[in-house]
Symmetry: C2
Subunit: 350 residues, 2 copies
């Protein structure tokens, strides 16, 4: 899954250039990282990317090894339930025995070897437990209210448990309890399941989406596919797979994934992903120079120089047509800024 | 005079693009402002620009009305004594009765009408007092140690005095005394004199520069001119006309120039020149957007957007290949930064 607008990574992330394509990690994009993470497990022809159709050309350029037909282009953003329903329906038509993994392109995951090892075990678990939805659980490091929490129950294998409860985005009190409990994981947003099984669950909990996805998959390669897609997709409920299915499904398993798992969805997440230099600055910019100050996050994808004198705890992002200077502790206001931008300048900078 | 490197206005000002050509004042350059200030008094063919030869093409482009031969190109920077000696020698060869005004292009001067009125009186004073060097004095507003101070003596006309003493860049104690005294002006760096008179003074106080300027003026339009200029200019003492001549000359007059006179030689001078918006920001950028914060100086010559969230008292300058983010109270360190830049990146950004 490589959808999502990435507004919190403005001004690098734009409507026509999603965050997954930003080359923030040593000059590599998150999409490239995600693709390469899966390559030890899967050949390119078994990897599919579901994303906005508008981004298909950029994705193809970023992943030349990926067969062009493996990019599943959504006409518009409709959250993860729709993206997963469409993908599952398409894969299921090609082979009704498919075991399908769902992986996000928003995170840095280290070490890659351990990720591959756990994902392999996920495929094995989904093969063995045909009716189960297998999710990967990451140990929570803080009571984050933006996450989904998975409470494990009965152990059924090494690092594998039945899920007792699944709670998306709890309040802070609940999140603290989950973290303290010791038997809870963050839902990583990554799953493995038979296409048959997830489609049955979607059919039960989100029947309109299931019907649309099935109809769309049948017409996908036909001339009327694109116009049908645009019409049908617009009617779909915008809801995540977590709310729509995972919270309600009965047979959910959780496989512990003991990796470093970093959401790179906001600028303030970069220091954890990229580290800090001697003055405490985090730099994803080939050319910087500083006198005094520190604790800044400095980003440019080009050799545009960022020079700082005496400034502390700022986010400074250079893009070809816009520069953002933001206090680190006010970075959550970037969304408001982008909304305001559209009022003032239309789509010019968004 | 439109020389000077303008390091304090980095990253907009560069070796190949001096501060006089920056379009900071409502999209107009300081050079254009200076030229237009003189136009009510002088026709274009009587206006000369002395500047680095390397900048001649850019100056010609900025002032298309100026005859191309009126750009006096210096092979290298040698401070104001050399620039004035060369200009005076050239003008003197063309007409030995010339009265020459010297005007800087570093300042904003308002209102332009009063400037023109006082300059006219300067020319009259120089015509009447053939042996005098006439300087324009501006009322000091603070005990600035980077200025020259002119103490007036005997009054010899409306707003016109003999100069009792001339003191370039005093220490703070002396500067305070000059400001408190009430009979002192800042030397504006603008003068009027007969070419005959200033050349005699240069000959007396800076004989080598006088000899070189005379020799150069004679060869200026000849084929060997440029190579002679390069060789001779390199040998000249780098000294200002203030130290070399004005402090020592006996017949100096000062004409009070009651104008608003703003040095636009550093970023922190911009608020006085351009004003502040409702949040206290000073903007010389067509496209800005802000949430919270204020008291910033935001500059871009292009439609590159500068977006700020919650930041206060910063200097943010966008140029095509470098961005500066600097605390306002540390802007004097820009020179150090440029020096450090050259160590790290050579001439790439300087």
């Amino acid at each position: 899954m490589a959808g999502g607008p990435g507004t919190r990574l403005w001004p690098l992330s734009r409507k026509d250039r999603p965050k997954q394509l930003l080359r923030l990690i040593g000059g590599r994009s998150l999409l490239r990282e995600a693709f390469d993470r899966l390559r030890p497990i899967l050949p390119p022809e078994d990897i599919y990317v579901v994303a906005l159709a508008d981004h298909a050309a950029a994705i193809a350029a970023e992943l030349p090894e990926l067969p062009r037909g493996n990019i599943i282009g959504e006409p518009m953003p409709r959250d993860t339930a729709a993206a997963i329903a469409l993908s599952a329906a398409l894969l299921h038509r090609r082979n009704a025995e498919t075991i399908m993994g769902v992986f996000t392109a928003d995170h840095l995951i280290r070490p890659a070897e351990r990720f591959a090892q756990i994902v392999r075990r996920g495929y094995e678990a989904a093969a063995e437990h045909a009716e189960a939805l297998v999710t990967f659980g990451v140990r929570p490091t803080e009571p984050h209210t933006g996450m989904g929490y998975v409470q494990r129950g009965e152990a059924i294998g090494p690092g594998l448990w039945r899920v007792k409860s699944f709670r998306e985005k709890p309040d802070l009190t609940a999140a603290r309890q989950y973290v303290a409990a010791g038997d809870c994981y963050w839902n990583s947003g990554m799953f493995v399941w038979r296409t048959r099984t997830i489609l049955a669950q979607i059919s039960r909990h989100l029947p309109a989406t299931h019907a649309a996805a099935t109809r769309l998959a049948a017409a996908w390669d036909m001339p009327e596919g694109p116009s049908l897609a645009a019409g049908l997709y617009a009617t779909l409920q915008k809801i995540s797979i977590d709310y729509a299915v995972m919270e309600k499904a009965e047979q959910v398993l959780v496989l512990e994934m003991p990796v470093e798992w970093l959401d790179v969805g906001s600028w303030t997440a970069l220091p954890a992903a990229l580290g800090r230099d001697a003055r405490g600055d985090t730099r994803a910019a080939p050319r910087t120079i500083a006198i005094g100050g520190g604790g800044n996050i400095l980003v440019s994808e080009s050799d545009h120089l960022i020079a700082t004198i005496g400034v502390n705890d700022l986010v400074v992002i250079h893009s070809p047509d816009a520069t953002l200077i933001c206090r680190k502790d006010q970075a959550q206001q970037i969304k408001d800024l982008v909304a305001e931008l559209e009022k003032q300048y239309g789509e010019r900078y968004s």
